[in-house]
């Protein structure tokens, strides 16, 4: 399969990139790892006239852990996420998502920014990031703004990003003590699969061991990663145990809105949301009570 024709830009700074985007607007696409974009271009699903590679902008590859935030540059690769001690230590559910994404070859190229910006409903990184309460930093010539990932996704392939904006960074707020998250994805085979269902759960406990805060995010069961709001409600204010997690799982299943497609039936996906919610809550609880 051949690529359609396009002009190629390789800016060295974010500002330079913003200038190019300001000039071409919707005619331009940002190229990071290219693992999604190149496939769609070869299939002629997308034929952008201008490709703006952001791979040569050094600041987009940074990872910075401070007291109140972990900031991950948009071009931080998925392979880097897998190997980063900071991610492993503070954001283990994100590390789990990264490890389950694609293959080693894809992980070497794919970036965290691309996995979010492409807005695929089955993507591995959005659920754990949303569970951790992450936000996206968007830059343009008119400045920088921050959008919570909860409000970032609008539909398959559509996000809150404007045509002149670049996703430059993901910010994850420092986690409260006694909190933890879990991530599980299932597909047909063990790797290199489009997920059938993926779920990330986060819980934070108060000093008495009561669930103070909970976020459950379900992939593949809606046009965007969905919060399981009624499941979260069931959890908050309760003492964690298996029965509670099972009830939350059942509620999450009802919160999900999967469709029948060639990969699987809605009925199966709903049931799996229940199983994965319970299992990821188990992991989250374990992390919350065993972290450091």
């Amino acid at each position: 399969m051949l690529l359609p024709k396009f002009d190629f830009h390789e800016p060295k700074t974010v500002n330079e990139a913003c200038q190019i985007l300001a000039e071409y607007g919707a005619k331009a696409r940002i190229l990071a790892g290219g693992t999604d974009l190149m496939v769609n271009m070869k299939k002629k699903i997308l034929s952008p006239q201008q490709l703006v590679s952001i791979s040569r902008i050094p600041e987009l590859k940074n990872l910075e852990a401070s007291a109140d935030h972990i900031r991950i540059g948009a071009c931080f690769t998925v392979a880097d996420l897998c190997e980063s001690d900071a991610i492993q230590r503070h954001l283990s559910a994100l590390a789990e998502g990264a490890k389950n994404l694609g293959t080693p070859l894809i992980r070497n190229l794919a970036t965290i920014g691309g996995n979010i910006g492409s807005a695929r409903p089955a993507a591995d990184l959005p659920p754990p990031l949303m569970a951790y309460g992450a936000q996206a930093v968007l830059s343009s010539l008119s400045g920088e703004r921050t959008v919570p990932l909860d409000q970032f996704f609008l539909g398959p392939g559509f996000t809150a990003m404007k045509p002149d904006e670049i996703l430059t960074e993901i910010q994850v707020p420092a986690l409260p003590a006694s909190s933890g998250a879990g991530y599980i994805n299932i597909g047909v085979r063990k790797a290199q699969d489009c997920n059938l269902v993926n779920v990330a759960s986060f819980i934070a406990l108060d000093a008495g061991g009561i669930i103070q805060n909970a976020r459950i995010v379900m992939g593949c069961v809606g046009p965007i990663p969905l919060r399981a709001r009624s499941a979260e409600k069931i959890l908050i204010g309760q003492k964690p145990d298996t029965a509670l997690f099972t009830r939350a799982g059942a509620a999450a299943g009802s919160d999900s809105t999967p469709i029948d497609d060639f990969r699987g039936t809605a009925a199966y996906k709903k049931d799996m949301v229940g199983v994965l919610t319970r299992r990821t809550l188990d992991i989250a609880f374990h992390k919350a009570t065993h972290r450091q």
Partner: protein, 786 residues
């Protein structure tokens, strides 16, 4: 210690260094001066009448050198079996599946060729589409081929013994229905070729094929060329698994375009086109009824099978026969009745794929045998051993098990997997299961009826005496046959492997039917051995005259000449040799007479030393219609034990371990035998758990890529313990027989039986996706409640 000096060892494959370093040349790496690129116009509709084709815009596009349709290509029918030639190179009246070929373009580059294809205007009149067996067989269904009413491409009805009478004597009769799914072989290299037509009317076709010989014949027939003017050359090939075992429209189009333009033309399928072309494993629906005595003795099998064939026959006639005949063994089965139907519909044609016709049948039956064993309270292993054939047994359909290490295979996997410590003792969610299988070592007859040799080989010694050149038209497609034949040549001639150079895959080297039906090791191997022995004899005869020693008192081993008598004086020969090579630093001084010296003397005496070998099977059993499909000079066999873990909440299966024993008669290259066994497990595991080519309601493949068509990844592969059993096949060269396809037979049923052992639920449809397993568990729970 092996009695052999070269074979029965682990040789480094001849292709390994090139493949590992990127030096190996595949079609995609090749380019010829002035080469054009071709592209195909393929039907977007599954069934339609062609009202009008207008190629004028495409012809007028700058850079386009030729546009051909049925008007230029003619309407010679071709296919695989002459009994069912049902394809023309390009469609002329109607298209029968999405991807059916309508026209081809040659242009200066691929972009231009693709653009030109988009400029060809075709007016279609859409016809009703039939996509399933049921729809295709329904009353009043649209007919794909007028010659085949009811869309029945082929049907087989056979009975050996008397099944109904036998059922009357059975204590238990069991019926199950089983369904697999349409497969893609997912070989790494899509089909591709370069055709080059020269000023003298010679056509050379370089192609990624398993069968240069059949491609040569089809090209000559369809394009009306004298066969002597057509040469097919196979460079390195990235596997085929059966799909590349016949001529394809790409090859024929490239040849026609090269003839029209006088320039080389290169054409390739992309991955989507590989799926669209199809020709891989059929979807089979088997219904089997097996009758046994209380003690487990098998008495009868009644078997009905429907094959979802697609738009054309391809290998389908052979497939529908194999689906029945390959159940004749390896168990003693006195009565067998088979009714098989292959049905046309508006999907890509299915064809032959590893384990041709027998894989789904074997899966169905081996699972049913386990069900029978359970009901009779006999262990699955005991049931199989009780009914197992031994060497010399002949099946009810006349397949002669001239060697059969089946019992040894079962015992090997039983011990190798510690079956007895595990069976019945594993926790819920874990299971162990076993199955057996067997397969032909080559078909008894070529695809076209002929008395042709199935393989001819020429071995020539270089005139300096140092090297044996082996020329075979056989097809190395990644399975390791080049190395195998070099080893056989070295062993039979008595020289070291490094003294053999081998060229293969070129129709100018002779006849070889190619790499299909697991035939090459046995058949080409025989021809290689005979040619090597011919050369050996010629060298020894000269030596005998020169030294006055009888041929029978000399031997060649490790590239040295051995004499039975002590003190044979060969100093005269050596002096002559050394005089010829004054100033050379590698002249022999003392020590035994070398093959190099002997071969040089032979050349000086009688000229170039050339040996020839040939093989065709002896007359095989079976006088009934269809006996040609299933009869073979030898049968390989195998047993496997699968161990699995099933996540009962999600339905996910993990295959933890496969213990695999295969009787290949004699392992020529041990590493290659193990490679075939492991590769077969991988392929069988994929078919068991993941793989299915899916279509939308317009007949378009919706998962035509390797992201959505899921073959096993490294992480899905279990530990595979391979055990080679050697039964010394009397009809094989050095006792060797097949391993390439038979090894896949037990994998699927072993997994099915292990999954049942883990969850207590039988599943009769593939693939065992998490959803299918989960739903089966839920169904079973519901059933228990009510």
């Amino acid at each position: 210690m092996s009695e052999y000096t070269v074979i029965n060892s682990r040789a480094v494959r001849r292709d390994t260094p090139d493949k590992a370093s990127g030096k190996a040349v595949f079609i995609d790496d090749m380019s010829l001066p002035g080469m054009l690129y071709g592209a195909l116009l393929q039907s977007p509709l599954a069934h339609a009448r062609i009202v009008r084709i207008d190629t004028s815009k495409a012809r007028n596009l700058p850079g386009v050198k030729s546009v051909v349709t049925a008007a230029e290509a003619g309407l010679i029918k071709y296919g695989v079996s002459p009994a069912r030639y049902d394809e023309t190179l390009f469609c002329h009246e109607k298209v029968r599946y999405v991807g059916d070929d309508i026209a081809a373009v040659a242009a200066v580059d691929l972009e231009t060729a693709i653009e030109a294809v988009s400029l060809i205007e075709v007016e279609y009149e859409e016809l009703p589409v039939v996509l399933t067996i049921e729809d295709a067989m329904a009353e009043g269904a649209p007919v794909l081929h007028n010659e085949y009413p009811g869309n029945i491409c082929a049907e087989v009805h056979s009975e050996f013994g008397n099944v109904e009478a036998a059922f009357a004597n059975c204590d238990l009769i069991k019926t199950t229905t089983f369904k697999n799914k349409r497969q893609d072989a997912a070989f790494i290299e899509p089909q591709g070729c370069i055709a080059s037509y020269d000023h003298f009317g010679n056509l050379t076709l370089y192609s990624s094929t398993q069968v240069p010989h059949y491609v040569q014949r089809t090209v000559a027939m369809v394009l009306k060329l004298p066969i002597g003017k057509v040469r097919v050359v196979k460079p390195y090939v990235g596997a085929g698994f059966g799909i590349k075992a016949s001529a394809n429209p790409l090859e024929l189009s490239a040849c026609l375009l090269s003839m029209k333009t006088g320039k080389p033309v290169k054409m390739n399928y992309n991955r989507e086109q590989v799926f669209q072309y199809g020709r891989a494993r059929h979807q089979f629906t088997h219904t089997m009824t097996t009758g046994v005595k209380k003690d487990g003795a098998l008495l009868a099998l009644k078997h009905v099978c429907y094959l979802d064939g697609g738009a054309y026959s391809s290998f389908g006639i052979a497939t529908v026969y194999y689906a029945g005949s390959l159940l004749g063994g390896p168990y003693k089965l006195p009565n067998m009745k088979y009714d098989g139907y292959r049905i046309y519909n508006n999907k890509p044609a299915c064809g032959a794929m590893r384990g041709h016709g027998g894989v789904a049948a074997r899966a169905c039956w081996e699972q049913q045998l386990d069900m029978i064993a359970e009901e009779l309270k006999i262990s699955p292993i005991e049931l199989r051993l009780k009914n197992m054939m031994v060497a010399g047994d002949v099946t009810c359909n006349d397949l002669n098990m001239s060697s059969l290490g089946m019992k040894e295979c079962i015992e090997a996997v039983q011990n190798g997997s510690e079956w007895s410590a595990k069976k019945g003792k594993l926790p819920k969610g874990k299971g162990i299961g076993m199955a057996c299988g067997f397969f032909v070592s080559g078909a008894g007859y070529p695809i076209y009826r002929s008395d042709t040799y199935h393989g001819t080989v020429v071995i020539k010694l270089t005139e300096d005496g140092g090297t044996a050149l082996v020329y075979t038209a056989s097809a190395e497609i990644g399975q390791g046959s080049d190395t195998t034949f070099a080893m056989i040549a070295a062993e039979a001639l008595g020289i070291r492997l490094e003294d053999v150079r081998l060229e293969s895959g070129d129709t100018d080297f002779g006849v070889d039917l190619g790499a299909y039906s697991s035939r090459q090791t046995l058949m080409t191997g025989h021809a290689v051995k005979e040619a090597a022995e011919d050369v050996r004899q010629k060298v020894l005869e000269v030596l005998s005259k020169e030294l006055n020693v009888p041929v029978g008192e000399m031997d060649i081993r490790n590239s040295l000449i051995g004499f039975k008598q002590a003190n044979v004086d060969f100093s005269g020969l050596r002096t002559r040799y050394v005089k010829e090579h004054r100033g050379w630093t590698d002249n022999p001084t003392d020590g035994p007479l070398t093959f190099k010296e002997a071969a040089r003397m032979a050349y000086l005496a009688i000229g170039s030393i050339v040996g020839t070998g040939k093989y065709k099977p002896h007359e095989l059993g079976g006088k009934y219609k269809g006996a040609a499909v299933g009869t073979s000079p030898a049968y390989g066999c195998s047993a496997q034990i699968a161990e699995v873990t099933v996540d009962e909440e999600t339905g996910q299966i993990t295959v933890d371990k496969i213990t695999d024993a295969h009787d290949c008669g004699r392992a020529i290259n041990i590493t290659s035998v193990e490679g075939q066994m492991e590769g077969s497990v991988s392929m069988g595991l994929g078919e068991a758990l993941f793989e299915e080519v899916k279509f939308d309601n317009k007949g378009r493949v919706i998962n035509a890529d390797l992201a959505e068509y899921k073959i096993p990844t490294m992480l899905d592969m279990p530990e595979v313990k391979t055990i080679i059993v050697e039964s010394n096949e009397p009809n094989g060269p050095f006792g060797a027989k097949e391993v390439g396809e038979g090894a896949i037979m037990p994998t699927i049923p072993a997994i099915l039986n292990a999954v049942y052992d883990a969850i207590g639920v039988r599943i009769h449809e593939l693939p065992l996706t998490p959803e299918r397993v989960y739903m089966a568990i839920q169904e079973a729970k519901k059933g228990k409640k009510t």
